[in-house]
Symmetry: D2
Subunit: 406 residues, 4 copies
């Protein structure tokens, strides 16, 4: 693995998660932090021969005018997660990453996200879909060439976009690309535009958000045609992770879940965007389908996500699970999860890049269902339990290792 170089292209490059990815990667490259929170650092994955931290370079798209230094400093001010010493020690690495950030697109991101746009992005306001795709592709190609990268993996970390009426249905890629050529308004949401551009540039694409991304039949076709990998959706970091861990217990013990109430409060930018109901609907849907899949019936559920400014990046979830046991006795489980959202998500982004690169190195393309454990709504699989999803990852790793040793 010694000379491969991989680009990690972050959509939403100066957002909370992406900034933490950049800070974390820089800290790992400097040897300034242990590898807690990184799944790929578990002993059981050591034989996979995954890429090292210094084989990774960060770039990305962003609609705001900012920098990693500023974003990290804001995040720290609100949530107290980085030490000033650390930020000082990695400042020059962050500056290098900053140079790779290009203006994003506002196509179909909704009013709330649009209102955050900075000068650089606003000037591209009238861009047609096809022009946006070309521009994004150019940025990716230029990034790959300038840094002499073997492969680029595009990771969607942008705030949740409103869900779009399906305007592309079962179109083939040929039909869609024709349609795009002439369109003034895009039949695709922003996340899918990035996915198209990524695939056309022969980059892999991973969607860490509930937005559509590559989750359309036509993009699965395109991925296979282009020989790239893709996967998603919606990183599973907190309350939903807990659900996918706890619900199997109730199912296996035949304890009937009567109701599952989950309230989430937090105060970062994602929370502000989710305060807009059209953005929130997309997110709530992604958090709610799981229980029915695991339990085999639908208990009464409630998921609320509320923007509470003082919380900063610290997401606190209170869940109340009411269940019925033997002789109809009703019992309760409550939990409170107090996690720092960006710090939970960022290491998973780095894991996904390493695992995706490993699969790419094997010459594979299309969906990566062995990554299901990382997502709230994993594509192409019907395994909803976290434990079984993780076994898919272990099985894949064993397969790769065996193949390597043949």
């Amino acid at each position: 693995m010694s000379d491969t170089k991989i680009g990690l292209w972050l959509v939403g490059a100066w957002g909370g998660v992406a900034t933490t990815v950049a800070v974390g990667l820089a800290a790992l490259q400097e040897g300034l932090t242990p590898e807690f929170g990184l799944v790929s650092a578990l002993p059981k994955f050591q034989e996979l021969d995954l890429i090292d931290w210094d084989q990774l370079v960060i770039g990305g798209h962003e609609i705001r005018d900012l920098s990693y230094g500023q974003a990290a400093s804001q995040l720290n001010g609100r949530s107290g997660v980085f030490s000033t010493e650390l930020l000082d020690a990695i400042a020059s690495r962050l500056a290098v990453f900053d140079d790779n950030v290009r203006p994003g697109t506002l196509i179909n991101v909704g009013k709330t996200i649009s209102s955050l746009a900075g000068r650089r992005t606003k000037s591209l306001d009238k861009e047609r879909p096809v022009a946006a795709i070309e521009r994004i592709s150019t940025d990716l190609n230029e990034f790959r060439e300038r840094h002499e990268l073997d492969h680029v993996i595009v990771m969607n970390l942008a705030s949740t976009e409103p869900s779009l009426d399906d305007k592309v249905g079962s179109l083939s890629w040929q039909e869609l690309s024709k349609k795009l050529e002439n369109a003034r308004t895009s039949p695709l949401p922003a996340s899918s535009i990035y996915a198209v551009a990524a695939m056309l540039s022969e980059c892999s694409y991973v969607n860490f958000t509930p937005s559509s991304g590559s989750n359309l039949p036509v993009l699965e076709e395109l991925a296979l045609q282009q020989g790239v990998l893709h996967y998603g959706r919606d990183g599973k970091t907190g309350e939903t992770l807990m659900k996918s861990v706890l619900a199997p217990m109730f199912a296996n013990r035949n304890l009937k879940v009567l109701s599952w109430v989950g309230h989430n409060i937090f105060g970062n930018l994602d929370g502000k965007v989710l305060d807009d109901p059209v953005n929130k609907a997309n997110k709530v849907r992604s958090k709610d389908h799981l229980l029915t899949e695991i339990l085999g019936y639908k208990p009464q559920t409630l998921v609320s996500i509320e923007y509470i400014e003082s919380m900063g990046d610290w997401k606190t979830a209170w869940d109340h699970i009411h269940f019925q046991g033997f002789l109809n006795t009703k019992m309760m489980l409550q939990f409170t999860w107090q996690g720092c959202d960006s710090l939970l998500a960022a290491p998973l982004v780095l894991d996904l890049v390493r695992f995706t690169e490993r699969e790419w190195r094997q010459g594979k393309s299309g969906l990566m269902t062995h990554l299901a454990s990382f997502f709230k709504s994993p594509m192409g699989t019907v395994v909803p339990e976290f434990g079984r999803q993780f076994q898919l990852l272990e099985a894949w790793a064993n397969g790769v290792i065996d193949g390597k040793n043949v």
Copy 2:
């Protein structure tokens, strides 16, 4: 299965769990309650052709003078778990079970438990070990004959006994039986005396408590020699179940558990017995080893069990888990489990009887590691995660069904 009849012999027959087993079985036999809480009632186990509720008869040993009617009424008064209507409807069934209850033994149960003994048991105070074993065996044989039972399964549900210095070490059964013959004071705790008596009477033995039971090399030898099944220890119903479900999540996500504090409060008789430090030590040990096994390192842990009278049978556990994620960030998970202990345990006892009978029907003897998911300290296995333990049960069931269908 139509004409098999199975005896369920409860040690601690009028205790909270056993009383709930009796009430629950009677209610199931009358068709007055659904099967929530019963693992064996899950659709995935239907093809196993497990015995029906009316194929079971209850008997047992008990040191107090009581009856199911009285015990159920006390439990209800303290914890409000049964309806008066239900207790009325099953009164005659409970009376039949009462007729099968015989005085237990006080050998090595410790001062706190001894102090609870009623007149019937006290009169047996000076009984030698070998006499106790013979008496218990006679009770079991008489029960089997009188009810024309095909097999009897002895289930230890008695309060936790103090742990005993190991006095039998690696003795063979031949050596131990010689030693027992002459002993005035028993080298075995009460739970093992019941286990010996059960095995000698060709009954299977399951230990739902942290007491020693059949967990001695010499008893494993005896079980195989007698062709009976046995398993244990310590039913996994609440906080420890949660640990075995949650800890794998931290392990798989490489989140370092810094400390795991668990406080348990409840007010039933078991709680009162555990207020005696010699009894409690045994229990705490059983709740605490798990985390190290799952995580692969030992976080700071604290397990407290406190008798709070007003709680009755409602066990409330508060757990505080402090963990370290990416970039050393410390985060917290807290949960409060509010479960009715007897109502959580009782259905598992019925499950264990059904699964044990199924294995006995196949002609097997010795340990039943596929039952690991039911226990805090499962014997003969190194799988501590609940999810994987449950997969052992599923795999066993698939094997039995496949065998049946050949």
Copy 3:
């Protein structure tokens, strides 16, 4: 006090709170229950010489067709709060109360409440406001005469009605009564129609709900003119009680409350009615103003009330309080309140009747600000702290006792 007889007239007579009032009063009259939960039973109020339980008779208005027996049995089925033995022992007393229940009015109660109406009430659907007032007055007078009551106290326990645009403003009673005479649609909500009818019949009126009731200048005028007492609004039983107890601590310690999030889940009829946003708005307002009054500034607040059917009458509130201390350090307090709503409210209703009767016995009329501690939005006072409100009650009691002893 030996021969006074007082009528307690419940609006929403067969609802959860009112049914618990009736069950509780009957149980107290039979000597079947201790006096926990009753403020008026505290030693410090013994010298007040309050009326005894058997001096009270219950009647009321209700829009559904039901009975106390049925209502109590439903409440018990959903929430397990009464024992069957108790309900049997007081059945005949409940039947007597049932005979005093008359059909309520649907004027301005909103669609959700209207949909619950039974046959008796539906037949009065087209009733004009003035006719409703007359009918209600007749019911009250007839109740007083038939039971030879010295005084009748009307207590509003009906589900929260939608808030009405203020259509009466600063009208005098003369102007309003003229307006009412000709009106087809009522300028008053249902709760105020009951208040008017009560006052015209020389009954006192207490409003245990967030509905308008007597909280209009014109009704304060009418109360004084008629020489009756009145007070409200919105019984303070759970989460808001906690707020009025905890917020002064933060204020007195100069700890800045950054945000106070409160989520309430429960599954009784009130909850169902509050699931209608127009009804809920009224309730949330009543729960939310308090913090600003106590703290002197407005932290970010969130109050949600959600109908979760499985919870029955057990209201669970989770509150998360985020506060800033010395050197800007952010800290947290969370609480979970698990209370049975009707059981918390019912004794306060009985307290209010006893305290109101005592004031009536003194010949007073108008507002009773010494009862502020019982209400979320106490009328005519600016003391929001529970502790200080309770001191008003103590001071009043001392005054009454001193007066008596003069």
Copy 4:
């Protein structure tokens, strides 16, 4: 007030609370932090004309070899409570305070505390009681003179010492001082030795810990004789503050508290010292008497304090309150308090100095019962409710202001 200068002498000068006092005072003097958490900064106390921050100078006794810079940096490393920027900005002020710190005494502090002693203090190991008193007095006098202070207030912030058999009983000061003169082993614990020395040097003395301090009849005599003020014991910052706020609610609502369980976990030095049972007993006693005083009966209570290293200075308390309401219904309140102990305590120390100085300025001596709200076990008062205690402070302030304005 413009030219008064007051010394704040901290016993346990480099401990967590004292270090936070020093950091906080320096930050206030520099105008770098708002006054949250400071009771004395409330608008209602503005007319008291309390001393300004820059009129205070810090000195103290300490048994370890350390400095404010080091202690603050350790505290920050473990608990993340100060910003590096702040510590840099106040470094020179902290250095000045460091110059005023002298070696403490190890007399009767117990084994656990003794084991923490540094070189400076160890060298004083054999010091006789009377020599210790003289040395401490000399330190205080020298501090006063060097800084030209008008008054010095000694504040005990040292870790909880083991409780001592009462060896001084009802001795008069004359008898005790004679006894001390010859004693090789002290009849007084360390905290009382400091109190004696303070009083002899005409300093006021406030005891923020559960140790004995000035809580002996003979020291009350001495205080009056010397014309100094004194008060204590045990600052009320977290769980006990909550108890003194919540218990009155249960009392006033006649809700019977069945059990009150409180578990405290934290990982600072105080916690480590409290891990020694002889030290812990003193603390638990101080936390537990309150409920009986407020409720008027003794519910089952449990208070545990556990040292969990990972928690650092963040004390988390889980309290479970089980109570019985109307018709015997059992309900629950649980709370989790997540507070940073030193940050909660430090501002109260500064408040106590300001309020004590104000009383000293009035020429008073003896106990200061108006400071009851600051303490778990306030001396000389029987008012246990926080609300009423706070009203004592308000009444005192009003009295002082009125006196001033006469």
